[in-house]
Symmetry: D2
Subunit: 327 residues, 4 copies
């Protein structure tokens, strides 16, 4: 039965969507956004552990992945563990249009060529026509939206190191119970991880920022959500904060999702539980070699995952990218 | 009356100590450490707001600063607002030996020449003989104990930028009530401050690390205590993490306060509520220009303030530096 | 100028609203809800300290209370310190309809007769016609919505004590900086306050629950928002949890704001950042004298303050009570 | 080889101790206390998952339970899951004296007769001579030390309900990773559990407080450690807070572990990371039937587990009960 036919039968002409992996933090966020969206019909959300249980406040319940009519929806969101998405894509080739929130099809993954990279502000046209979208990683979303316009404008000194110190809330590590994610372990702690440029998101950033020398050092914050990336950026020639800000304003002048501060740097609380991303920059007069400090704030579950996935779906439907998101 | 005579009269030959500003976070920490120390007698702790109230669990109570016999003790700890310590020092010239926990007499302050800088592991001999010790700032303590041995060994490339990304718990900002320190403001937030190399601790670091190009970017963490400093360090020639570690081991081989990790990087929980400082380093193979990542962890109220003040007092008494501290 | 005329001139026929005290936690919450509401136009929000600054994400800025056109709006929300609302009401008699979020005009205040008590689910008709509404306190909102239907149904044993153990997040204590509200004081603490039945909200509860013997013991939780009230309720005759649940279902069958759980007890996270209130009850088989345990969860800034204020405004406009709130 | 002989050989005449289950929160706390104790030698601590890893800051490492010389030590602490302790006791009958921190041998367990109940302030003589001590549960420790002296003095009205509202930090639920203990689940939540008098600690309390009608309602707090129990206590005849306080002072006049407040109620922060227990009481003048409000504060890992276990070991060695604990 064709999708169109199906819609006629139900009398609901809205596109149908399904979520594979609805019980994790990203999946739950997506369920909430889709439920509030208005333009689509949430057909199912899967959860192996919670199958049969209803979703709080929503009309539907979780189904087992094996029972989900994944081939019958218009859009399929994949919130599965990294590595499992490729199999779902293979199984449903030619079926629903897929938004993959894992890193299976991202640039640098080896399967990036199969998919359009879903950085909504950069590739709206490609995303609109895509059958398979690789939703960007949370950290790369911040780094790339901050640096791509600056690289385009030639403002980055590619001979020197760009130092990204990032910090993320614990939902970035997922909802599978592990000792190091327990409240009593996290509550008074703060620590670096993925040290020595070993975080798996580096490949994704580098694929989009060839020629930029990146040092990416993430940390785990004692908060549930949110990412703050503090970038010490070597600028070319006589570039300064004002020029950086100008390049951002130019790139994002039509966006309600990206906010560029004219003064000061964004803190985490400004973006938590939203789908926005906020950019700030400050001059550094006396560091010696010329640098500026850039700070990017976003919610790892919002613009860093579910919010951007909704943007991608909107673009694929021919709607405004920011329809139904929190900005 | 001479100090010695005074001791004979009381029958307690232990040195007497007084704390000016005992109700702030640093003051309270100092009261606790001195009470548990065993080697000294806590004669008084002042508090303008809590005068007359007793100290929980201790035998003494707070007195008004005006009523404190500040000239009669052997050691005076100044935990007053920055700027007020200089007046206390002037008033009690020739009296008690003073450990000033403000930045009034630190290097770069303009009054640094009057005092010995109390970085206990670096200047034990000078501290032992001092009448006035300037207790180091919390952030400089971490940066200096990490970098001084490396600078001495010529391991730092002084032509490139040393990037220090620091994060501190809120007790570092003191106990005077301000809106931005309220629980509901801090709990889900994380933000940069002192951006653009404008933190007042920079002068102190630079005075001790001449020739090193520093970018120091602090952040406010949603925890009560603890400092983590993540340093992206440009290394000279063929230096690597192993060499860095070797320089630290050499410098701190007799210290129970400084711990050098042979593997991995320290997190905050390892040092919170202790007077220790932990150092770790990791190689970064693919950043382009050669760097290592150094992480320093300490408690801003421990080694970053009260713990180091006790070390200084111990040295001034001719005792082991680590007597009565938590290491 | 009449209100109707004014609307004609601006071409915007929506009622206008003003907020006195827009920078506190309740005021900010109200600003956010009114901005998203759609049915009204936010004319101004006052703040003595932030006058001249713009509201993040909104089109307007704070004005000084002295400069606010408080007499010209259709609705005035008072989020001022307790005691100041009465003066605003006196000054604007016959002007805008007022929703007072302080306890100045609540039952038991001595000025309760001047106002309609804005417990939206209980007094919708009276609220609809009111010129002055006393918005209920956060704790009373929970206790009253839980107990009033049970008192009506004769399910409470008035000869025995009803024990209310309540816990609230710190925003309930306001945004004025005080030492005991600092992050470092609250983060690892939990404490009782207002002990011995001395909380000022008791008068309000008792005025509505005459004959019920109440012991109300609040506690301060290390969270920003939310109230959980655990009520050990002596039930009359053979009443049990099922009967309690039935009385609630009956009372709130048309409400989207009040949720009655058929199983289990609500936790705080279920209501935080919503305007809902959730009720649960459990039987206690072996306590001796017959009791049930009732748990009520609400957000002190939502249903406990700003959300309920919006419900009241909606009723005063002849709209659905739950228009524009988060339920 | 006899224990005495063994000591001669090593030249260390201190009693040896072993911990079964050293990697959980209670086990870690015990390791720390025993390491600092001075009077005993920590021979081993077991951990199935961490076998082979060393204990941070200590001279020994974890061993697999199968490799631990459990029969050769003087004292064996059992920090295993509930249900496993009985097997360890059976296996080592006649060997080391055992302090069981599970509820396997507590009053009401069905095996209580085999052991002495290790409520150190109540049964010091029995504990001193015991081969097997059942270390009390964390919640019962607070309730019993508050109520036993009052029951003895006839101050409790046994005809009415004693309502215990308790709240505990998450370490009380152990260190095995579970979704509901993750930071992102706990951080903004607060919830009741074990509702309807179904917590397993009730049997233990009732066995010691026969005739008292108890309602025990625990809650989970967003903190790592600490227990606060708020007890609404029906008092007999004309008893009041002063009389309650008198009974406590009488019972605990020689204790440095139990603190009785002459004014106010204790908060959690007063006891966290200590082995103390603090008692406060307040009169309630207008509740109707005569009650007082009692608040007990203790650290669930301190006096509620490891601290009390050390007290028991001290008593079994003929030492002061409070040797080597944090009071």
């Amino acid at each position: 039965m064709s999708e169109e036919h199906q819609h006629d039968l139900t009398g609901d002409s809205r596109p149908t969507v399904g979520i594979v992996g609805g019980a994790g933090y990203t999946g739950q966020e997506l369920v909430g956004l889709l439920d509030a969206h208005g333009g689509v019909e949430l057909a199912f959300a899967t959860s192996r552990s919670l199958a049969g249980e209803s979703l709080p406040g929503l009309g539907i319940g979780f189904v087992d992945p094996g029972d989900a009519p994944a081939g019958d929806v218009d859009f399929l969101f994949l919130c599965v563990p990294h590595g499992e998405a490729a199999r779902w894509v293979a199984r449903h080739a030619g079926g629903p249009r897929i938004i993959d929130l894992t890193d299976d099809h991202r640039p640098g993954s080896g399967r990036g060529a199969d998919a359009v990279y879903g950085l909504a502000e950069r590739y709206p046209v490609e995303i609109a026509g895509a059958r398979l979208v690789a939703n960007p990683g949370c950290y790369p979303t911040g780094v790339l939206l901050a640096l791509l316009p600056l690289a385009d404008a030639g403002l980055i000194d590619t001979g020197r190191l760009t130092v990204v110190n990032a910090a993320s809330g614990v939902t970035g590590a997922g909802r599978t119970p592990k000792t190091y994610l327990l409240f009593a372990e996290v509550a008074e702690d703060y620590r670096a991880y993925g040290e020595g440029n070993r975080h798996r998101h580096l490949k994704e950033m580098r694929a989009l920022l060839p020629g930029i020398k990146l040092l990416f050092q993430p940390h785990l914050l004692p908060v549930a959500r949110g990412i703050l990336e503090t970038i010490v950026l070597p600028v070319a020639d006589s570039a300064d904060g004002a020029e950086v800000r100008r390049a951002w304003h130019e790139a994002y002048r039509n966006s309600r999702v990206i906010e560029v501060l004219d003064d000061g740097l964004p803190g985490l609380s400004r973006v938590v539980r939203t789908d926005r991303l906020v950019l700030g920059v400050t001059d550094v007069s006396d560091a010696g070699p010329r640098v500026v400090t850039v700070v990017v704030a976003l919610d790892n579950l919002g613009k860093g995952a579910a919010g951007q996935a909704i943007q991608n779906m909107n673009l694929m439907c021919g709607w405004e990218a920011d329809r139904g998101i929190r900005c």
